[in-house]
Symmetry: C2
Subunit: 165 residues, 2 copies
Amino acid sequence: EKVVVTGATLNKGIAKVAICGVPDRPGVAARVFGALAREGINVRLIIQSVGQEKVTDISLVIGRSFLKQAVKILEGLRAGLKAREIQSDGSVAEVSIVGSGVAGTAGVASRMFRALARRRINIQLISSSEIRIACIVDAASGERALRAVHDEFQLYRLRRRLVAA
Amino acid sequence: EKVVVTGATLNKGIAKVAICGVPDRPGVAARVFGALAREGINVRLIIQSVGQEKVTDISLVIGRSFLKQAVKILEGLRAGLKAREIQSDGSVAEVSIVGSGVAGTAGVASRMFRALARRRINIQLISSSEIRIACIVDAASGERALRAVHDEFQLYRLRRRLVAA
Ligand SMILES: C[C@@H](O)[C@H](N)C(=O)O
Ligand SMILES: C[C@@H](O)[C@H](N)C(=O)O
């Protein structure tokens, strides 16, 4: 692979929240984020995967300090949007690898996922782009997950470990 | 908002594919991407949102030319993973806005989503990071979606329109 993974990060100061079972039609995402924007919620990742039969979920990774507020906002929207439920979990961490072209070939992604799988660390959310693959895991596995990707991509010698809290 | 949206892009040379109803436990993502990697599938976005009752979906945005091959690989995995189904759609486009900190506040995201909603363009997938918010829409709406975000963020004068096929 011509891809070079140049670093890995661990962020424990986050929470996962999702509004599940929303109608998959125009205007829904606008309404959800309009409500979050009005209250200044800090959003790190927005993730919407395929839905089923015109219904889908929208997941967010936010700063941990915003969790209670975000859940309140989403619960307030739930009835009006006919959403099935709000999910939330403050006990999560984000482990990412960064590098030019990381998501371009499936190879780098498969190595990251395998490194986590070998340590029995479950991947709860995935969000990737050209330059970064982010996995959300449970908070207790955060450090182990960071070491796993450091080992897999031999990052120790680069001294690129960044831990944010 | 201190966020500045500096550009927007439209990419029509893509396809959406997903393996749905996979067990949400360690090793599943590794297996899916291991199989895709062995065949050199070019992956642009990996999206996994929250699941339900230990089952979830993994969505991918890939280069259009890889669609048939990717579906074949995923169908080959389906029984072994006890996945419910494979979804795919070659008639999609990716519209993105880029800028430093775009996903940081919900405000920029809500403006992008509202711009698409006003034109009745459905958002099929969302993947965002610090510097980019990508929405997958149907291919026929691609140009209109690009214009929508250009108008919303007043990008014309920057002449930042990039269209890839
Ligand atoms: C679910 C949500 O993204 C919806 N499809 C919309 O366009 O707003
Ligand atoms: C669904 C998939 O991501 C699974 N949770 C895994 O860890 O591999």
